[in-house]
């Protein structure tokens, strides 16, 4: 029989990851539970996952694409925008969901033992679910404009989204433990993400950034998933730059730091008097 030792110093990061793997059923239960509770009492249910981004898309297309005529490299603005919004919003939502995952479940954490890492991980999966729905809509919108999904998209989109999830997980984990005590961090994070959207090529084409700033611009980790989506869906050319491997390392580091910070913080969260 399993002997559990409780000590003043708890499990390390690797042990926690191991636990999450072992308890994957529980993790998926959390995902299901959240999705079910979100949609259960809403009349339009799952439709909202789709309606909300569509409404946003419509509004922004009219303002930025039509009224302001923002540069979109000759692609129809709606598709141009939407293909970038999917990875960006996935990043934003994943980060916020992960960051708030401990706070939301305080009642549970303070009564039952389970590997806490399950909460942020389940947040990642449930955002993947929502984004998955949105991709279907994206394919629909793009097709309407004449851009049909290529094999690249079908294979590449999940991969890119997974990588974006990891980035969101990393950033969110750094914040998750802290948010329980200092709730300000949450809106602060929200504002930072808003800012992040403007320095990423979501609303406009990356090509409008002057040449001498391009490298710096490309150090934004979200630059790459966004351009990747545009390439997969629209066929917009993508050029390799050394910024890519650098951002990859940044993301990995972020994830590692996030895991460590999370492990340190989650122990203390229950003791917030």
């Amino acid at each position: 029989m399993n002997v559990r030792t409780i000590d003043a110093g708890r499990q390390g990061v690797l042990a926690q990851i191991g636990e999450v793997w072992k308890q994957h059923e529980l993790m998926f239960l959390f995902v299901r539970r959240h999705i079910a509770s979100r949609y259960r009492q809403m009349a339009l249910g799952g439709l909202w996952a789709v309606l909300e981004p569509l409404a946003q898309l419509l509004l922004m297309s009219v303002v930025f694409g039509f009224l302001l005529r923002v540069q979109s490299n000759d692609y129809p603005y709606a598709v141009f925008l939407f293909s970038a919004m999917i990875p960006w919003q996935h990043f934003g939502r994943t980060t916020m969901a992960v960051a708030g995952s401990l706070q939301e479940n305080m009642a549970l954490i303070s009564k039952v033992y389970f590997p806490r890492l399950i909460l942020p991980v389940s947040a990642v999966f449930r955002e993947l679910f929502d984004t998955g729905l949105q991709i279907l809509v994206l394919i629909g919108v793009a097709a309407w404009f004449g851009y049909y999904p290529s094999l690249w998209l079908l294979v590449g989109a999940p991969i890119v989204l997974l990588l974006v999830s990891l980035a969101g997980l990393g950033l969110g984990l750094c914040a998750a433990g802290v948010i329980v005590r200092y709730r300000d961090v949450r809106p602060f994070l929200g504002i930072a993400l808003q800012g992040g959207m403007y320095i990423s090529p979501v609303l406009y084409a990356a090509s409008i950034v002057p040449e001498r700033f391009q490298f710096l611009y490309q150090l934004n980790p979200m630059y790459w998933p966004i351009e990747a989506f545009r390439w997969m869906l629209l066929g917009q050319a993508m050029k390799f730059s050394w910024a890519l491997p650098i951002t990859a390392i940044m993301v990995v580091l972020l994830l590692v730091i996030g895991l460590v910070l999370f492990t340190i913080n989650e122990r203390k969260t229950v003791d917030v008097l």
Binding site: I6, A8, S110
Partner: protein
């Protein structure tokens, strides 16, 4: 840890930093320092006044299949101990080892999500316990059956009444085969039928070799369900002994009588109660002055089952009350009244001199082993109604020993409070059936 132990813990302690908000105008630096201290345990002078030890140096062992009771005043650290053992919070010092799966019911409806149905919550709770979905499925029917809420199993849990909540939570916790079951005060909620059921289940669980940790304020439940009990007070363990002894230690602390176990037998058989003043019963008509208890061999705090008992007490009425009465209450260690005797029940005596000494005599004390308490009362009789004037709770405690009342085979503890002589006759009827 030896294989027959289910739980072992040593030196467990839990310290919290208490935020000081007395002076509002603390500087930003001090505020920051406080936060840093709480957060990282570093920074600045370590004033012990800033810390609060919810639990300090607690060590004990629990064998497999044992039912251990945990009692203590509110705030004594019981919940903190359970939280540590359940893995919900980390200890500041010490360590513990637990063998097997741990199921905790730290609060009713732990882990239940209000929007999900009972069914979904059962699966969730089981998963939290570490069981696979398949295992839960195999026990599902049994759980629903036991909880008695089959009709509502697919209704969102937020619609349940608190009783249904408890029943479901408890049946999940107890039937999902955890090796160690930790229960925090959950027997308090729930109706009588549920209480009976849960006690039966707990006993069955222990019988199956599973271990139970039971925290409860219900002292009689602790007494007859647990084989051992520990008493916590202000974060420290002050006793680890048989349930009836533990209950006494706990009550002693509750009554502010200190933690040192007082042996009733060593106390003087005569007490002065003229100065006694209990908050709840102010002595506005101070009449009862002293009391003395005697057995067949003279004044003593130790009496015997079936033997004579005499209670003498002295009184002085501030002014003559006529008609009046005196009452003697005898209670057991957990405060249940065993029997009561009113002065007017014997020969209808209703007049007493203004001051004097009264003797109450019982020919054969019907009480079994244990510690008992006497309470005295004095009041006015008016139109057949009693109106109390002076009451002294917990006048004195005394011990009763069974001795050889039942001959060579005395009654085992916790089998009741009264000694009843019964005559058994065999061969009274012929047939085995009811009509015989």
């Amino acid at each position: 840890m030896s294989s027959e132990l289910a739980i072992w813990c040593e030196g467990l302690g839990k310290r919290y930093l208490v935020p000081h908000r007395q002076v509002e105008a603390t500087s930003l630096m001090e505020d920051l320092r406080d936060h840093l201290k709480e957060y990282t345990g570093l920074a600045g002078r370590d004033e012990s006044a800033d810390y609060f030890w919810a639990l300090k140096d607690v060590s004990f062992e629990v064998k497999q299949g044992e039912i251990l009771g945990i009692v203590g005043k509110n705030g004594s650290g019981k919940s903190t101990l359970l939280k540590i053992l359940s893995g919900v919070t980390e200890p500041t010092t010490g360590r513990a080892r637990l063998r097997g799966r741990i199921g905790s019911l730290l609060e009713v409806g732990t882990g239940f999500h209000p929007d999900m149905t009972g069914r979904e919550n059962v699966f969730m709770a089981g998963a939290l316990l570490g069981l696979s979905q398949a295992e839960i499925r195999s026990h599902f029917d049994e759980i629903v059956d036991f909880s008695g809420i089959e009709r509502f199993i697919d209704v969102p849990v937020k619609r349940y009444s608190s009783g249904m909540y408890v029943r479901l939570a408890f049946s999940v916790a107890s039937l999902l085969r955890s090796d160690i079951l930790i229960l925090d005060e959950v027997l308090a909620v729930g109706d009588a039928a549920f209480k009976e059921k849960s006690e039966k289940i707990i006993n069955r669980i222990a019988h199956d070799g599973r271990t139970v940790l039971l925290v409860s304020h219900n002292l009689s439940a602790i007494r007859h369900m647990c084989e051992r009990a520990i008493v916590l007070n202000e974060g420290r363990m002050i006793a680890d002994e048989r349930p009836d002894e533990a209950v006494r230690s706990y009550l002693q602390v509750v009554h502010d009588e200190g933690e040192e176990k007082i042996d009733i037998r060593t106390l003087p058989p005569r007490v002065d109660i003229s100065e006694r003043d209990d908050e709840d019963y102010p002595r506005t008509f101070n009449t009862l002055k002293w009391a003395e208890i005697s057995g067949p061999d003279g004044p003593s705090r130790t009496l015997r089952t079936g033997a004579p008992m005499t209670l003498r007490f002295g009184y002085e009425m501030p002014e003559l009350v006529d008609p009046c009465y005196f009452t003697v209450f005898v209670l057991n260690d957990v405060g249940d009244r065993m029997f009561v005797s009113y002065s007017y029940h014997d020969q209808d005596q209703m007049s007493f001199p203004k001051s004097g000494v009264i003797e109450c005599h019982i020919d054969a004390l019907p009480l079994l082993d244990g510690a008992y308490t006497i309470e005295l009362d004095f009041g006015r009789l008016s139109e057949g109604d009693v109106r109390y004037l002076d009451f002294v709770p917990r006048v004195l405690e005394f011990m009763v020993e069974q001795g050889d009342y039942f001959g060579a085979r005395p009654l085992v503890r916790n089998q009741g409070n009264f000694a009843v002589r019964t005559r058994w006759k065999s061969g009274v009827g012929s047939a085995v059936g009811i009509d015989g």
